[in-house]
């Protein structure tokens, strides 16, 4: 993926969303669909951030509370909440976010690496920081945030 970005060279298309007061974004190419909130079916013996399962046109996919996953307070789901359906390592995963805020195109130079003061393990979540005029947006590395979890679960 990083390779793909580098290869495209000039531009990155991203979708930004809010979790609490913070703003995060992900690569648009990882997104399959964005849908409104719908009630989930809880699953037993799952970590707290795994909210449960939803039926997406016949396919059963898990839904993960991103805020909880990133060590923040649990998200209160509302009608204005959104589920971003992503394709991570060939598996569909729903991410619960408070609000999808924007869809934008950035130059690859604008993506700055995270400060090194953050420990390695935590730094792996973040591919970089996008500094906009008012805020700073953390470019999440979904492979590390979700895939590891999925692989671990699989293991």
């Amino acid at each position: 993926m990083s390779n793909a970005i580098k290869q495209s060279g000039a531009y990155l298309e991203i979708v930004s969303f809010h979790l609490g007061d913070q703003e995060f974004c992900i690569d648009i190419m990882a997104i399959r669909e964005i849908r409104g909130w719908a009630p989930v079916t809880p699953m037993p013996h799952t970590p707290p951030y795994v909210l449960g399962l939803i039926n997406l046109r016949g396919a059963v996919i898990p839904v993960i509370d991103m805020a909880c996953r990133l060590g923040m307070k649990m998200t209160e789901p509302s009608e204005r909440s959104a589920i971003i359906v992503t394709d991570i390592a060939g598996k569909l995963v729903g991410l619960l976010v408070e609000q999808v805020s924007d869809m934008m195109t950035i130059k690859s130079e604008d993506l700055q690496p995270p400060p090194e003061i953050i420990p390695e393990a935590q730094r792996a979540f973040c591919r970089g920081i996008v500094a906009l005029e008012k805020t700073m947006v953390c470019f999440l590395n979904l492979d590390t945030v979700i895939a590891d979890e999925l692989t671990r679960e699989a293991a």
């Binding site: 979708v15 648009i28 409104g36 999808v100 869809m103």
Partner: protein
């Protein structure tokens, strides 16, 4: 009347009655005995006659018996004819009928002779004969029986006929004897009765003669003695008594009447002697009285002269006149009365003199007082006029106040109606507010739908963007469109948000407005209650104003009455004034008149005249108390207090 013992003997009438009675008894007994003996003789003769008749009929029967037997014998003789001749049959039947009818005479004779058995055998004998002749003989003749049978029946008929004839002979002979005996006894009875009648007549004549002698003598003697006594009285012999007073009959009564004449004559002579004595005595008394009367006349003329002089002095006004010389005893009283009268007149005149002086002084004072009173009455009338005018003003003011108060009452009622209307308006406003709220809610719902649509559009635009990105270079234009759509959706969402905010704000405003309207309604209701209270007060004001009006009317009436009274008072005061002036003049005249009388010294100044004090009986003023009440009613008692604080005993006549 000399009521000496009266013997109880027979009166003249009774004596005559005894004579008549004796005659009646004698002749009556003679008649009775004659009649009785005659009856006896008559009866005896009648019986003898009856017996004689019976004997005659028995003789007829004896003839019939013989005829019958002969007829039977003839029938037996003519038995060859085999039938009895009809004329013989008739003879037989007639003879039998005579014998049968004579059986009653036979019974009577038998009863008289006491020979009943003979009478009974007679009936059976007749029957047997009838059987023998009418039945047996007839049968034998018709059958043409034998001679033997005829001989037998002939014997039977003969025997029966002889027996019957013997019986009838016995009756005839015995009856003749009895009849003769009866006639003899009747003749005997007739002779003895004649003897008895003669004896009785002799006895009666003797008894009447004896009674006539006794009673006639007695009556004759009594009448003769009474006649003698009456002749003596007529001749003036009044001393001897009348004889025969003690007798109980009519002659005794005549004697007693003659005795009363005698006594009355004696009494008349006594009375004449007494009258002559009395007349002499009264003549002497009259002479004495005439001399006494002459002396009295002289004394009377002296007393009249003295009294005349005294009265002349009194008439001349000298009340000191006194009669000192004593009068005769019975006229002395007159002198004392005159002196007393003069003394009383003196005293009375002295009192009149004193009182006239007093009346003079008092009448002068009265005159002055009456003048004052007239002046004050005028003042009072003027005051009353002023009061009346003031009262009219007050009355009109009160009337004005009443009408104003009534207008206020109407206005208040109007206001109350308006307040009630405003209540309804407030309710309407509240309802309108609620409707606004409802509309706002609906708008909110619609806005929510729009918001939802904007959200969904945003999501669709995002998905479109995602798809465009994935399409790479080919999706660039589509990405731009998707972006535009996203912006539109964002704007719609923003607008919806703004509208929502506005709607919620307007809801809050509407709520505040509703509260304000409620508060306004409450305030209006409060105003309504206040108005009601005002209405009550105004009504009471109206009521009291009316009462005041009534009270004022009464006061007005009272004042007009007072005015009339004052007018009358004024008139009366004028009259009083004139009268008091006249009274003063009259009192002076009276004093002058009294001075004409000489009443001697010591009679004046028995009593000093009392002058009437100026303030004898102060009275409480009713008018002042009325004013106090009125003033208290209008100024809350301040005036009343000032009046009450004024001295209680002030003289209202002074004001």
């Amino acid at each position: 009347m000399t009521n000496s013992t009266v013997r109880r003997n027979l009166s003249v009438g009774q004596r005559l009655w005894t004579l008549g009675g004796a005659a009646l008894i004698g002749f009556g007994s003679m008649l009775g005995i004659g009649w009785y003996e005659n009856m006896q003789v008559d009866t005896g003769l009648r019986r003898a006659d009856d017996i004689q008749q019976s004997i005659d009929s028995i003789n007829d029967m004896r003839v019939a018996n013989l005829t019958l037997v002969l007829a039977a014998m003839d029938s037996i003789v003519d038995r060859e004819e085999k039938i009895i001749q009809p004329d013989r049959l008739k003879i037989i039947a007639d003879s039998l009928a005579v014998l049968t009818s004579g059986s009653k005479q036979i019974g009577m004779i038998a009863e008289e002779l006491k020979a009943g058995d003979l009478a009974k055998s007679y009936d059976s004998d007749v029957g047997a004969l009838r059987q023998a002749i009418q039945v047996d003989l007839k049968a034998l003749v018709e059958q043409g029986a034998s001679d033997a049978e005829f001989g037998k029946i002939d014997d039977r008929i003969d025997a029966d006929g002889e027996k019957l004839a013997a019986t009838l002979d016995k009756f005839a002979n015995d009856g003749a004897v009895v009849a003769r005996n009866r006639i003899d006894s009747a003749n005997e009875t007739s002779r003895s009765s004649l003897t008895i009648q003669i004896a009785l007549g002799v006895i009666a004549i003797l008894a009447m003669a004896a009674l006539q002698y006794i009673h006639g003598g007695s009556i004759r003697r009594g009448i003769a003695s009474v006649r003698e006594s009456m002749l003596r009285i007529l001749n003036g012999d009044l001393t001897s008594n009348v004889a025969g007073k003690e007798r109980g009959d009519e002659i005794g009564e005549m004697a007693r009447a003659a005795e009363s004449f005698r006594l009355a004559a004696i009494e008349k002579i006594d009375l004449e002697t007494r009258t002559a004595t009395d007349r002499q005595r009264s003549d002497a008394e009259r002479r004495e009285r005439e001399s006494a009367k002459l002396a009295d006349a002289e004394a009377l003329s002296a007393a009249v002269t003295a009294l005349g002089q005294g009265l002349t002095r009194l008439a001349n006004g000298d009340l000191t006149a006194n009669i000192d010389q004593p009068f005769r005893d019975e006229l002395e009283r007159l002198r004392q009365d005159f002196n007393q009268t003069a003394l009383r007149l003196r005293q009375a005149m002295g009192d009149i003199a004193l009182n006239s002086t007093s009346i003079q002084a008092n009448s002068r004072q009265m005159r002055a007082a009456a003048d004052d009173l007239a002046k004050r009455t005028e003042q009072q009338a003027a005051s009353l006029e002023e009061t009346s005018a003031a009262l009219d003003e007050i009355t009109s003011t009160v009337r004005n106040a009443t009408s104003r108060a009534e207008e206020v009452g109407q206005m208040v009622a109007h206001t109350r109606q308006n307040t009630e209307k405003s209540d309804a308006i407030v309710g309407d406003a509240m309802a309108a507010m609620e409707r606004i709220e409802g509309a706002s809610r609906e708008i909110g719902t619609i806005i929510n739908v729009i918001d939802e649509i904007a959200f969904q559009t945003n999501l669709l635009a995002l998905n479109a963007g995602v798809e465009a990105a994935r399409a790479g270079e080919a999706g660039k234009g589509f990405a731009v469109v998707a972006q535009e759509v996203r912006e539109l959706a964002g704007r719609a969402a923003g607008a919806a948000k703004d509208i929502k905010a506005l709607i919620s704000k307007s809801g809050a405003e509407v709520k505040i407005g509703g509260e304000l309207v409620t508060a306004a309604g409450e305030a209006l209701r409060q105003i309504g209650e206040d108005v009601l209270r005002i209405d009550g007060h105004v009504k009471s004001i109206v009521t009291s104003a009316r009462e005041q009006s009534v009270g004022l009317n009464e006061i007005n009436t009272a004042i007009s009455q007072m005015d009339q009274v004052t007018q009358k008072n004024a008139a009366m005061v004028e009259e009083t004034n004139a009268a008091s002036h006249t009274l003063a003049t009259d009192a002076e005249n009276l004093t002058q008149l009294v001075r004409q009388f000489n009443i001697g010294e010591g009679m004046n100044a028995r009593q000093t005249p009392r002058e009437a004090s100026a303030a004898s009986h102060p009275k409480p003023s009713p008018a002042r108390s009325l004013i106090g009440k009125v003033a208290g009613a209008f100024t809350g008692g301040a005036a009343a207090r000032t009046l009450a604080s004024s001295p209680a005993g002030d003289n209202w006549e002074e004001f």
